[in-house]
Amino acid sequence: MGNLVIDDLSMRFDLPNDGSVQALKNVSLELAKGELLAVLGPSGCGKTTLLNIVAGFLAPTDGKVTLNGKTVTGPGPERGMVFQQGALFEWMNVRRNISFGPDMAGRPSSETGPVVENLLRTVGLQDFGDKMIYELSGGMQQRVALARCLANDPDVILMDEPLGALDALTREKMQGLVLKLWKETGKTIILITHSVEEALLLGERLLVMAPRPGRIHKEYRLPFAEMGVGRDLRSVKKEREFAERREEILGMIWDMEEEIMGRQEEPA
């Protein structure tokens, strides 16, 4: 039973002027295999810090992250990352970008070739395998990033606002693709996003975080991701429950933002 356990995680950065910033405080969380968790929150709530700790790019000041019982101490191929933009290798074509993980592990191309072709089809880029990265649109580039991550067959996929830089139409299409990939591969996914709608649509579980110190504010279990698989996502958005949840969470984040603004406006 592979699962991801985030155990009482705290993160404090020391500042040069003797102060410190509490980026995360006592965050605990458990993800079962195949769960899709969306993380939402105003800027400065520590959601990217949380993801970086899980990925192994940052070491927490307290607490630990374990995956399948093993403590995370650094980045590793069992935890794949999808970034917002600019993380593809421009000096390689699409096919070589996707096979980067297996290539680095030294797997023979006879083994990875079929996997790459399969992934190209899955993300809808079957005719673009030989194109260079800079010849692709932003949406296509994110498809490559997803395929590259999947080619390594990770246990957990960590997505840091993967669709943040895309236009609204492309974004909607890509949301459908993320859902499809999640269902087809059964991967555990943590998705960080700024968009309340995206979090509701994709998150089987939804974590709303609050800032200063970064902590879990509220957690939801949502039906929309299951609903959305293989369906037009716009019809999901029309559901009454969806609209209610959206208003509720938007209100929650608005309140947090106002609190921050209010605090900043007070004289020191």
Binding site: G56, R79, Q85, G86, A87, E90, W91, M104, I133, Y134
Partner: protein, 422 residues
Amino acid sequence: MIVLLLYVAIFALAFVAYRFWERKRHHLHDFASLKTVTFGDESAVSPNRFASVVSIIALFAIWGAFTGSAITPLHVPGPFVGDSSFAYTARNAAGETDEATVYMRVYRVGEDVPLPELPADQAGFAMDDALKIGAWRSVLARPNENDTGGEEDGYSVIAIDGQPIAPGDTLRFADGEITMTSKGSLSIKPDKGWQMEPIWLPAPEAVVARLGEIASEGYKNVSLWEHLGYSLGRVIGGFVIGSILGIPLGYAMGLSNWFRGWFDPIVEFMRPVPPLALIPLIIIWFGIGEEGKIILLFLAALWIMTIAARAGVSGVRISKVHAAYSLGASKWQILWHVIVPNSLPEIFTGARVAMGVCWGTVVAAELVAADRGLGMMIVNASKFQLTDIVILGIILIGIIGYGIDILIRMAEKWLVPWKGRG
């Protein structure tokens, strides 16, 4: 000054003429030509190739016009060449005056011409004189030397062509100027015109002829190709060694605190020291042989390449490195598959700068001390006033430097097609 004004005039005229011609011609409706705002829109500005061609033609036309070249139909007035004369009035010790004529023949230097002939009948005490003067030159004459009683005290020249003259005065005669020195001699300067004397600036065809001569016979017993080859070989040798050491050093400085801390003071100290300032020390340490020159060029290239590689490493987006780690790559794999390719654009920029500096430095080093090479050719020719070789050398240096830059840019386009599109 005149040349500058003329150049500006040609620039303006060509521009007006081009605009006039362009207005009459059929227009392409491509994206750039349909823009109404071009002033301030850098992307709408591209070099006008017509202007480039006119610019080169104008340079050669001015060069030709001021050197009396055969390649241009129009020339500025040249120096006076031919026969001329002026009359002088002399007063002898007794207070009597008499007139005689100075006949002069102005000839092109290098030609063999006889003295002008004098009329047979010489009346009075002042006698006619005959002179030869090279074009652009002047002559100090004492017309009273052959006059009867001309060497006596109180004998003096008092007028030229009827104009009174005293020591220190300058007068014009038909084809030039005369200045009387304080001792009463006449300094005769025929008009020089506006053209340049070949020892100042040879005509274009003289330079081309010299190129042919040196290409077939060599200069100083060394063929032109050997001069070129030595200069280029030194540059490439120094640049390659500098890159082999500098690029890894730059990577190390971009990847390790310790390396960065250790080499930062050295690199930052050496960077602003111009390589030319090192020439004396290099000569003291290594002598004037090949070794010293290659070490000098190595030092010129080293810091530039180190800094370029360091900048290339810092230019890697952290998300690329993170992505590679998350895909299971090791440190060495990340260096080779992510950092090196990602730093190539910076390395190429550094290589262009380094090659430019090396090329400039090799010429300077050869100016100081060398037995072959383009710089040595120039400085050696200048000692013998062989201005055509000096100009030929300068043109060759410019063309080769430009060629090297074009080659590196082509290599960059081929190896780094993603530059600026990442």
